[in-house]
Amino acid sequence: MSSARSVVHAKNLKIGYSKKAVLAQIDNLEIQQTEIVSITGESGLGKTTFLKTIANLVKPIEGTLKTFDSAITDVRGRIGYIPQKLGLIKHETVFSNVLAGAICNESIWRSITGFHEEKIIDRVQEAIKQMNLEDKIDESIKRLSGGQQRRVAIARTIAQNPELILADEFLSELDEKTAENVWKTMLDYVHANSITLIIVEHNTGRAQMAERCFKLEKNEKLNCSILKENN
């Protein structure tokens, strides 16, 4: 096995949407390759914002955040992000949605003109097959159940072949059995492909299935939340 390398490294990080309203403070956090990490905490403490900061969707207010041992520059295809509401294109088919993930692995020219390489199409079909969605391949997202939609979101991430997956409460609104199935599928995939997984999870039971669990807790003195590791 290759020696583990840092995938996320945060130091003295302050996150939020403005300097006057810091949501959370992360003093020191290092997440290694292949680790499965969960972040819990009450609503409004900054879990989603932290995930978005790692995904480079929100700029840090203060401190340093490095992904893949370097400052975030071009991360095309390296980070897979599954938002709480999945972020699927509702008017498009399963195939088109999964293809949106796979195109990260080809040139922009091919992606825009639609002259996809054969391996990209194979990758899309393989990801759809892995999620048992072959019979839904041309179905519109709107017509799928909640569980099927979540499997499409995972298939999109699989087709993307990222090194780091960020999943924001992506099992919410699912019944217990479906949630367990989707969770197991995700775990099998990340284990088999040495991928780092960071999930924001409200369900403490599932959160504790991760290798490392962190919790965002309100700190009255600092007037923001701080990240603590649960041992």
Partner: protein, 289 residues
């Protein structure tokens, strides 16, 4: 006791009514008597000059020479309406193609304000001039005829449609955009894979609305020489042939009603929560499975 909070809408409406009265009073300079005879005048004008309509407008005209073998196909009504429809169709399509990239650049959820705001001003400037003034401008620069009409309505369409489009784009849910950005997709890819598919129904609905709009305005711009139905109106006015104008307006009314109905039916298939909907070939063609 009156609960003022609960009566806020009534108070607002009453205040607006009073305010409107004072503004109108200012317009008529307090002399309401000038309006007294207007209804009578309208009635006299209607019976003496407008009614009955003169249906000679659906007969062949003497000039310019028409070589079609049907009287109707050479009539001012047919030539005027068909030119208006052609102007509206071409200008709507051209306007759509030009406005979409500008709308993308004007959207604040895709660009920062430094880019978005100048493009918004550009669209606002194009909207500021009414279509008839654009027509006047192009008649002066390009010359009389339908080409000026096409250019005038294209410019107005870009301004108007561009605004509707960037509002639709800004109304997009943030999650699909976030997922695409986190993946590292470039802006062009995000527009192609997320923005257009997610706003597609709205964009087509707006396009159909704009076509209706351009048919109505395409019939007016001819007054300044930009082709279409309005081209005949100044001549009829000049010779006091109001009954012919009445006949043209009645024909235009029915054409607009038919286009409205077809467009409303077509648009209903592109709006998710439309109430006016029934399964048809349209759905099978455009919506897939």
């Amino acid at each position: 006791m009156i609960n003022w909070k609960r009566q806020k809408y009534s108070i607002f409406l009453a205040s607006m009514a009073i305010f409107t009265y004072f503004v109108f009073n200012d317009i008529v300079d307090g002399d309401w008597k000038s309006l007294e005879n207007s209804l009578d005048n309208l009635s006299v004008f209607f019976h003496e000059s407008l009614w009955p309509p003169n249906w000679k407008v659906i007969e062949a005209q003497a000039y310019p020479v028409c070589e079609r073998n049907s009287d109707f196909l050479c009539s001012p009504a047919y030539i005027g309406i068909s030119t208006t429809l052609k102007i509206a169709f071409v200008s709507t399509c051209l306007g759509f193609i030009i406005s979409l990239p500008i709308a993308v650049l004007s959207s604040r959820n895709l660009n920062n304000d430094l880019i978005a705001i100048p493009f918004r001003y550009l669209l606002a400037a194009m909207r500021t001039l009414p279509s008839i003034l654009w027509a006047l401008l192009f008649v002066i620069t390009v010359g009389l005829g339908a080409v000026s009409g096409v250019l005038a309505l294209t410019f107005y369409t870009v301004g108007y449609l561009g605004k509707l489009q960037y509002e639709a784009i800004e109304g997009l849910a943030s999650e699909p955009l976030d997922a695409a950005r986190a993946m590292g997709l470039k802006k062009t890819e995000i527009v192609q894979r997320v923005v257009i598919p997610e706003t597609g129904n709205n964009l087509i609905s707006q396009l159909l609305f704009m076509f209706e709009y351009n048919v109505r305005h395409g019939s007016i711009i001819g007054i300044v020489g930009a082709g279409g139905l309005g081209y005949y109106i100044p001549t009829y006015l000049k010779y006091f042939q109001y009954d012919k104008i009445m006949a043209l307006l009645i024909i235009l009314f029915f054409v607009v009603v038919i286009i409205d109905l077809l467009s409303m039916k077509a648009r209903s298939y592109f709006i998710d929560d439309a109430t006016f909907k029934s399964p048809s070939l349209f759905e099978n063609i455009f919506r897939g499975k």
